[in-house]
Symmetry: C2
DNA sequence: ATCTGTGCAAATAGTTTGCATCCTC
DNA sequence: GAGGATGCAAACTATTTGCACAGAT
């Protein structure tokens, strides 16, 4: 089952109803390559109020169907969560592109930090900034 | 030499002048334990306009005397940079406290990711969220 | 029929800008 | 004395809230 269907189902289970705004936002996030900001989502969808976009994102985040990604700008990105697809982001400062990566070594290091600090870790964000391969060899 | 003096000196060298707002902001950042938001700084300083706080932070950041820390909320934190003190942050979701940590393993893992992705890394942020030792054993 | 979701518009919060004035150099 | 620094107020951007109404169950 794809993410959109899954998300819609979970929203139903949580007692939410399905209106136009919710359908369009879920559909868009389900087909997105990477994180989208609330405003990008709003721009790409006609006849849906901006407030509804934010409210839908809020519900999706509460159910952990999407997650916020802070890439350091003034607005936050949102992307769908696949339990089996934990990853972080590389941000190219030249072209603004976002690419996901995973690293077991990095996850291990993070777990070790939490343990030695006595923190019960719930989540973590890692954002690497630099120049991507395409922009680097100009 | 302490950070405040150093920062003030570098601002001078960069051709900036020293007014009340700049003095107070630099002084506060120099004595801060960890990151402060622009609004916290503004609140703690009387008779200094908010705009001047932002402008001072902007200049300090450009000279790499302070750095932005995105802890995931709606506003960003700023803290002084000591070249010899690279660290990241643990955020307690219960009490909101911020504690710094360092991990060589983590830095290594990050460097490895950048290399294998063909990214020339310029900077990176790591934020771990969870429950701190104090809040955990309630 | 009921009660949630939606859209609009207004309200907020954080940050930036315009401009007259102050003050450093 | 000149030009940058500052403070105030207004502008802006992202996000949230109030409210009437449409629409899902």
């Amino acid at each position: 089952m794809n993410w959109s269907t899954h998300a819609s189902q979970r929203l139903d289970e949580a007692g939410h109803r399905s209106g136009r705004a919710r359908r369009r936002v879920v559909e868009l996030l389900g087909s997105a390559d990477c994180a989208l900001t609330a405003l990008e989502i709003d721009r790409r969808i006609d006849s849906v109020g901006r407030a509804s976009v934010y409210r839908t994102l809020e519900r999706l985040e509460q159910l952990r169907l999407i997650q916020r990604v802070d890439i350091g700008g003034d607005s936050a990105g949102y992307e769908r969560v696949d339990a089996s697809d934990h990853h972080h982001h590389l941000v190219c400062q030249a072209c603004g592109c976002l690419s996901p990566f995973t690293s077991e070594k990095l996850e291990d290091a993070i777990a070790a930090v939490g343990q030695s600090a006595g923190f019960a870790l719930a989540s973590h964000d890692v954002v690497l900034r630099g120049t991507c391969a395409d922009c680097g060899d100009a």
